[in-house]
Symmetry: C2
Subunit: 206 residues, 2 copies
DNA sequence: GTCTATAAAATGATAGAC
DNA sequence: GTCTATCATTTTATAGAC
């Protein structure tokens, strides 16, 4: 009852919490918050339901812990854009990081996609604060680059959104791509990196 | 019990079924299939839950009826590409139709987005048959145009996916865009049409 | 820390009166 | 066709033994 989630002590606690987080990611990213059950998560984590609720007091608590843990990963690629670097190289590197995330962490991408498609009722604060401020900041950096003639003149916000759309699409809509190309490819990301990078090279050139 | 859903006779039946379909669209597109309840749909439709189940025998039946009704709308823009027309003009017109759909029917877009993000368990047949065949067909048309030097040389499948990603993003991830730009815009589609069209003009030019 | 048992609420669906 | 009442199941969460 008086569990210190902040600093788990024993090895078994760490193990269980890690198993729960991984199970929760698997289940929530596939079914959304309301579509997921504690039974599913407990089974995926290999523990009993009451034991699951020993570590986290409610379904909400698991979900919040999971989102919190992953917000950093989600923001990192945008955060790492260096205003001192070369404009086109920095943005192409950003796109590459996003594509890598989409390929290597598709469940994380779908977890957030589920939330946002459903109106982001549990992410308002994060989106309106952390994400908004970061986007505003990097939009200014991009605008400066454009003023200096380093990039094509585009709306920096729409440019960022288009990068999100193009890179996340392969993770979020993976099922659709796999079914449409069932006879042609095995991995929906096949050729995606090259394609996305080549079109953004065209888009960004001044 | 022996309701002929195919040909509703009375005016009141038509009215109720239309109200149910609209309510189901509203609820399913916001919460996903499992996240939606019959109570929500009945309330949104302004009828009682047993009466809702008089018109449709189960929650699944409502969902299937809704998806079936909307599949045509969803395929129409791609279907309307004319192989005899001008390559760039046809694709730009396709993009325009997709952008209009995204702006005017965001709930429909999110309904499908919810399904696909969650692995499309109730749309496999449609995606693997109708959509796949249409995409294969139009990919060939695009490939011919490229061979004739009318378009830049690109993977036609990735080109189609990129159009889906860019156009649907404004409907599906509307919540995120609105929250990130809360202080700057009221409609998340503001400027989207112009931006998307301008970058695809760059992308498509041979 | 983990389990069995169980409570309490939500939810899909049916029965039967009108 | 529509309603009230109700059932059966699922699902979240708790109690208490070990």
């Amino acid at each position: 009852m008086t569990l210190e989630k902040a600093k788990p002590r024993t090895r078994i606690q760490k193990q269980n919490i890690a198993a729960i987080m991984d199970a929760a990611l698997e289940v929530f990213s596939t079914n959304g918050f309301r579509g997921s059950t504690l039974d599913q998560i407990a089974q995926a984590a290999g523990i009993s339901k009451p034991n699951l609720l020993y570590y986290f007091n409610s379904k909400q608590a698991i979900h919040i812990a999971l989102l919190s843990e992953l917000l950093g990963i989600w923001l990192a690629p945008l955060r790492e854009i260096n205003p001192e670097g070369d404009a086109q190289a920095e943005l192409m590197a950003y796109i590459r990081r996003k594509l890598e995330l989409s390929r290597n962490f598709p469940r994380e991408s779908r977890l957030f996609a589920n939330e946002i498609v459903q109106g982001a009722p549990r992410m308002e604060v994060f989106l309106q604060n952390d994400l908004k401020h970061l986007v505003d900041e990097q939009a200014k950096v991009i605008l400066n680059w454009m003023d200096d003639g380093k990039l094509a003149l585009l709306d920096p916000y729409h440019l960022i959104f288009s990068i999100w759309a193009m890179t996340q699409h392969y993770a979020d809509f993976d099922a659709q791509i796999r079914m449409v190309r069932a006879d042609q490819i095995t991995d929906s990301h096949d050729g995606a990196e090259e394609f996305v990078q080549s079109i953004f090279q065209k888009i960004l050139a001044p």
